[in-house]
Each structure stands twice: as structure tokens, then as C-alpha cells.
Amino acid sequence: MDSLYREEMMEIYKDPKHKKELPNANAYSEEENPLCGDTIKLRLKIKNGKIQSAAFEGSSCAVSTISTEKVLGYVEGKSIEEAKNLTQEKLLDLLDIDISMSRVRCATLVLTALKNALESFEEGNE
């Protein structure tokens, strides 16, 4: 079986730690992948230029959920600049699962959400 569906990955998928509310968030973005209907609502709590905590809601497939989970784990504690530098390539490294070409878009939905949330945060603070 595709290594994506191995047990440890399925544990992340079934119980994503970052899937929760974040009441004191100050950056937000909502993205949709029109191909499959996946949606993600991303919330960040940013203080002194650093991402203190990150959370998401929405419904999505395993690739999208696991990718979101890993990206949010990665950006917590990082500066806005560092988070903005997370490229698609780095994300696929971080993910470390075999995904087919058709599902790269599922994996990168969170990246779009992250960039947009950070941008709107910075615009709001200008």
C-alpha cells in the first residue's frame, strides 16, 4: 500500500492535533480546492513577529490533513519570515510520503492558506 496510508500517517489523519478552535487568533485565511472541494480554515496567533500557535478547521482528504498538520507543527514558534519561506519543495520534504502528481494540490492547499493568512496579517498591521 501507498506509504501515505501506513498506520502512523493514519493516526495523524484521524486525530490531527491542530484541528481545533483558536479563539485569540489574529490571522485568518480560508481556502478551497475546487477540484475536490477540500476546504481549510487556518487561524494563527502571531505575537512579536512570531507564530505562537496555529490551528485549522475544515474537511479534507488524508493528504491535505496530514500536510496541514505537519506544516502547522513546523511553523509554530517560527517567525513570519521563516514561515513565508516555506516552499512547496520543502513542504514535500517535510511530508515524506509518496504522493501522486494529482494530489500535490491537496498537499499545498495549506501553503496557500498560510501565505494568505500571513499577508492579510501584515497588511492589517501596516
Partner: protein, 425 residues
């Protein structure tokens, strides 16, 4: 073609499979189980050979040269048109225009009938249309200040096919008005597999005003059920060759003969004119006025070979085989808790196509796990976003069958689906 006339014989998928070279391959170590036929069908060697032979022996442009090759190509192209016209039960070959496929045909028409549509006029369509029979009309209506009225024919849970048909007829009747210029609807839904009652729709539409045009999207019907333009009652019929054993990039647009002069060509250029001067052009007669540019000759020849193949098996038998597979699949799927099938479940008015979803799982994951076992299904919205929105679904999984699929494949699919759900839930 040697596999003629086996009218009384029940379709034997195992024998048919031998004609399809792709059936021998495996996917990730498992034999291919191809259940994505609604997206495109596989091709028998008869079709592949016909294309190879054209390019190896007769390739030339049509209606142009006086030389032997051009004449051969022209003859084969026109013979293909005749084969297709007969398959569709058209009155004459001139009614059949070769296009790239359904999407191309609908776009062609949406430009071609532009002048028949004025501000405030109405086009009726449904919310289960494929985007290709929806977006062109949406655009045209915007351009002309016309109104696109979309009937909601979302299937209810546990609705029978006959109740479903009645609902559709009822809604169309209520939506017709003095302003209606066109009714455009699928013959078979690519999400539910239900056959839409076109003959009855035609009699309601034409009964209300015989000038209202009726377009039928036959992308999913032409491959699966007997089609006859003389009795269907529509004015336009569009379809794709690649879904009915033919090659990609070829399909058709059938226009009722008496309308041919009224409909403008959607595409203009070479090969479709009588004469051109610096300030005007006169269109050639049908069907050439609708076939600007070099046509897909090899595609037409391949499609004719496909149609001969389908006829040798028999369209009724192909539909019955699809219904048998659907029945078997539905009986199995209904044993899975939390699984819901979209659309009527009886085996009356349908083809071998089933879409479903399972609470708490994403179709992409189901399709990816099935793929790792060699099974190809479609996951997504199947280019029918309005319907999925109405059903409040992000996506669904679709298994669609054709004449080479077997009960054994369905059993295997069912077992692997259950395993996949265990992983995901």
C-alpha cells in the same frame, strides 16, 4: 469486422476483454480493474488497428487533393460519417457533424444559435448537467441578456427511477414559458447513471411550442443505450467518441435536418465555404459548413470502427450487462454502513454507473487506496459542481462499467473498498 450478429448470445465480457490490449497490464502489481469508463473507455484492437492502418496506408487531407490518397481519405471519412449516422438512427449522413467531442459540440451550438436568442428569452437546463452543457449556456445568456433557468432535479434518497422521471417531467413542464427558446439536458447523468426520459420531455416541450429547441447531451447515453434520432424527439444530440470505444478528439453533433440552415456555424475558416470574396463569405452546405479546418479523419475512422464493434455486441445487450453489474454492485454496497448511493437504486432506467460517498471519508483517499490495488475509479465532483453543492457533498466516488467489466471485478472492488474503509475510518 468478423464479430457480427450474435443477437441471441449473452454478452461475454471475458471474450470481449481479449480484444482490449490494455486489459493485460497491471497497476502497482495488481491486474488493472478499470471502473472509470464514464471518464473515458478503453479501446479494442479493431479501433487501434483502424487508426494505424489509416496513418500507415491512406493518410492525406480530405476534400482537397485530386490524388489517390486524398480520395481514399475522403471516402473513408465519409463512410465513417455514414456508419455513425446509421448508428444514431439519423435520417441522413448530412445531419451528422464531426467535432472534437461533447464539449466542442455544445460550444459550437452555443455560438450557432446566438442569433436566435434575444434579451429576456429563456434557456432551461438542469442542475445535474456536466459543466460542458452548462457553462456555455451560462455565458451565452449573460451575453444576450437572456435567462438561464436551472431546474433542480437533485435525486432524493430512496427515490425510485420512475418517481424520479416523473419529477423531472413535472419540473420541466412548470419551467416552460412563452420565452423559452431552448431546453438542454443530459440523456444519462454522469453522476447517478440514471436515464432521463427524453422522449417524454420532447413531447412536453414540443407540445408547448414546437419551435422550442431541444438539445440532448448524449455523452453518457451513446456509449450505453440504443439511440435513435428518428424517435428521440430532440433537435440536437451531442456525444464523445472516446467514451464509446473510439479515440480521443472525435465526437459528434447531430442537427435535425430542417434546422441545418438556421444554425450558424460556430467555427469558421477553411473547408466550410462555398465562396469567399474580400467582403463576404458564403457557407457551404451541411455538414461541411459546420466542419471548418482539417477534420480528425483518423479519429472518425477509429470511431466508425468502435461503433461497428458496439453494434456487433448489441447496444441493448451492452446496457443489460451494465445494469446487471450495477445491480450486483448496489447489492454489495448497501451492506456497508454509512455508505450512501447517489440517485435511484433500482436497475430499470440506468446504465452501469454508480456514485457513492461514505460518511467520514474523503473520495480521494478511497480512490488512492483502490488504485494501489489496481482499481481505477473516479473521485471528485465529476464536473458536476452544482449537483454536489446541492447534495452538500465535497465530492463522491464513482465506479462506471462497460462491456468488458465482470462480476468478479465488482467482487474484488467490494472487498478492497471494505479494506480501504477500515484503514480510513
Amino acid at each position: 469486422m468478423s464479430r457480427k450478429n450474435k443477437i441471441n448470445q449473452k454478452l461475454d465480457p471475458f471474450k470481449i476483454r481479449k480484444d482490449f490490449p490494455i486489459m493485460g497490464r497491471d497497476i502497482e502489481g495488481s491486474p488493472l480493474v478499470y471502473f472509470d469508463n464514464a471518464a473515458t473507455s478503453q479501446k479494442p484492437k479493431q479501433v487501434i488497428d483502424a487508426i494505424t492502418e489509416f496513418y500507415s496506408k491512406n493518410n492525406a487531407n480530405v476534400h482537397r487533393g485530386i490524388h489517390t490518397l486524398s480520395e481514399n481519405a475522403t471516402r473513408q471519412y465519409e463512410e465513417s460519417r455514414t456508419t455513425l449516422a446509421k448508428f444514431l438512427g439519423a435520417n441522413s449522413p448530412e445531419e451528422l457533424i464531426f467535432t472534437n467531442g461533447t464539449t466542442h459540440s455544445v460550444n459550437h451550438l452555443s455560438v450557432g444559435i446566438k442569433n436566435l436568442l434575444s434579451e429576456g428569452d429563456e434557456i432551461i437546463t438542469s442542475n445535474l448537467e456536466h459543466h460542458s452543457n452548462f457553462v456555455p449556456w451560462q455565458r451565452l445568456c449573460k451575453e444576450r441578456g437572456a435567462i438561464l433557468k436551472t431546474i433542480d432535479i437533485t435525486p432524493e434518497p430512496n427515490e425510485t427511477s420512475s418517481d424520479y422521471s416523473k419529477k423531472i417531467l413535472d419540473k420541466i413542464e412548470r419551467f416552460l414559458s412563452k420565452k423559452t427558446k431552448l431546453v438542454t439536458i443530459s440523456h444519462v447523468s454522469n453522476v447517478t447513471g440514471s436515464i432521463i426520459p427524453i422522449k417524454e420531455i420532447a413531447s412536453i416541450v414540443k407540445g408547448s411550442d414546437e419551435n422550442i429547441l431541444l438539445l440532448v447531451d448524449g455523452a453518457q447515453s451513446a456509449p450505453h443505450i440504443p439511440i435513435n434520432m428518428r424517435s428521440l424527439g430532440c433537435d440536437f444530440f451531442v456525444f464523445s467518441g472516446h467514451k464509446m470505444l473510439g479515440p480521443m478528439g472525435i465526437g459528434g453533433l447531430w442537427i435535425r435536418k430542417n434546422l441545418m440552415e438556421k444554425i450558424e456555424p460556430g467555427i469558421v475558416g477553411g473547408g466550410m465555404i462555398e465562396k469567399v470574396s474580400l467582403d463576404k463569405a458564403v457557407w457551404a452546405g451541411a455538414p461541411y459548413r459546420y466542419e471548418a479546418g482539417t477534420p480528425n479523419v483518423a479519429g472518425a475512422i477509429g470511431l466508425a470502427a468502435a461503433v461497428k464493434y458496439l453494434e456487433s455486441v448489441g447496444m441493448r445487450e451492452i446496457n443489460n450487462h451494465g445494469r446487471r453489474l450495477a445491480k450486483h454492485t448496489i447489492e454489495l454496497l448497501e451492506q456497508i454502513a454509512g455508505l450512501k448511493i447517489i440517485g435511484p437504486k433500482d436497475d430499470d432506467n440506468r446504465i452501469g454507473l454508480i456514485s457513492f460517498y461514505v460518511e467520514g471519508t474523503h473520495p480521494h483517499d478511497i480512490a488512492a487506496i483502490l488504485n494501489s490495488k489496481g482499481i481505477a475509479v473516479r473521485a471528485g465532483q465529476h464536473c458536476a459542481m452544482p449537483l454536489h453543492t446541492e447534495l452538500d457533498l465535497e465530492a463522491s466516488t464513482r465506479a462506471s462499467f462497460y462491456l468488458y467489466n465482470t462480476n468478479e471485478e465488482v467482487d474484488y472492488f467490494y472487498r478492497e473498498l471494505k479494506t480501504a474503509l477500515k484503514v480510513l475510518k
